[in-house]
């Protein structure tokens, strides 16, 4: 017996995509025109797994130059902030453009377009993240932390911290330590 089929390729590809992404427990948004936005960055293993599972269905991942570049910028900033060996006295704009090989203006526009945030903002977020880590996990005092992250003074660090979070570094430390104490009491 013969059956005649009609294919709706849009629905077909969307369903396949959704099922493959769900299989790997990824959070995503399908933007249409062959573009997916993944909420979190993929590990190399996840990327390879996804690439091969999509390949079975004839779907190939096209390396987007732009997102590769944005990820490079992010990685470089994180490296710059968290790596002790890098001289933070070099301006970040110079550091980024020199190491990535594009003008800072280009990188900055690209970053804002792709992330809805700015390079400057991202740098501050990472720096504050590192400050929080140092406050909670080392014996360094604020002066030492300010020096380590190349702030011009403790006041400068405190100001930036307070601008970003609304509380002072010492209030932050006090709160987290009280939380830990509370958690310890609960498990007794």
């Amino acid at each position: 017996m013969k059956l005649f089929l009609k294919f709706d390729f849009n629905t077909l590809s969307k369903k396949v995509l959704e099922s493959k992404l769900d299989e790997q427990n990824l959070e995503y948004k399908i933007l249409g025109f062959g573009e997916i936005e993944l909420i979190k960055k993929l590990t190399p293993e996840d990327y390879d797994a996804l690439q091969s599972s999509l390949h079975d269905y004839g779907i190939e991942i096209v390396e987007s130059q732009k997102s590769i570049l944005v990820q490079k910028i992010k990685d470089m900033i994180i490296n710059m902030v968290f790596n002790e060996n890098i001289d933070l006295k070099v301006k970040s704009s110079v550091y980024l453009s020199k190491n990535i090989g594009h003008s800072y203006g280009y990188l900055s526009n690209l970053f804002s377009e792709m992330t809805y945030s700015s390079i400057g903002n991202f740098i501050i977020i990472q720096k504050i993240e590192y400050v929080k880590h140092l406050i909670l996990n080392t014996e360094l005092n604020l002066t030492e932390i300010a020096f380590k992250l190349n702030y011009s003074s403790v006041a400068h660090l405190s100001t930036q911290f307070k601008n970003a979070t609304g509380i002072t570094p010492s209030a932050f430390q006090r709160i987290i330590f009280k939380r830990r104490k509370l958690a310890k009491q609960k498990t007794k």
Binding site: E18, D22, E27, K29, K41, I125, K132, H133, K178, L182
Partner: protein, 148 residues
């Protein structure tokens, strides 16, 4: 799992505040879905339901009948399935000590209710933007504290 909006819940006993709040989100360019509950008991009944969708950000008023914001906060922090929710205390005013107390009990964000609609929109969009940065950059949620 697919979601193309940010899911917000507000628990507040004041109807006008709820309206103010949902109107502000309507006017923001961010894609959000807002749900509200008028007391702590209704809120916890919803969150405890088996298939309930957890919000990305929960705004909790402190002074609510039946179950206060603090009581809800304690229950939420004790629950595994609610551990991904960013909790914002949304209150009329409080002393620095009270604010610190809510942080110590596990709140991530403290917001003093703005009386001005423009200010409210600004505050809400900041909260959502920062929460988004945390989410997409895998920053340490345990250290996420914000006071606005």
């Amino acid at each position: 799992m697919q979601k193309d909006y940010i899911y917000i819940i507000l628990a507040d006993d004041d109807e006008d505040d709820i309206l103010f709040f949902t109107d502000a989100f309507d006017e923001l360019k961010i894609n959000t879905k807002v749900n509200s509950f008028k007391d702590g008991e209704e809120l916890m009944n919803y969150l405890n339901k088996d298939n309930a969708l957890m919000p990305n950000v929960l705004f909790l008023d402190l002074n609510m009948p039946k179950k206060t914001g603090i009581e809800c906060l304690a229950e939420i922090k004790a629950s595994q399935k609610m551990s991904d929710i960013a909790i914002a205390i949304y209150s009329t005013s409080a002393s620095d000590d009270d604010i610190e107390k809510t942080f110590v009990l596990g709140a991530n964000i403290y917001i003093k209710k703005p009386s001005d609609f423009k200010k409210l929109k600004k505050v809400l969009s900041e909260v959502v933007a920062i929460n988004w940065q945390y989410h997409t950059n895998a920053l340490n949620k345990d250290n996420f504290l914000l006071r606005l």
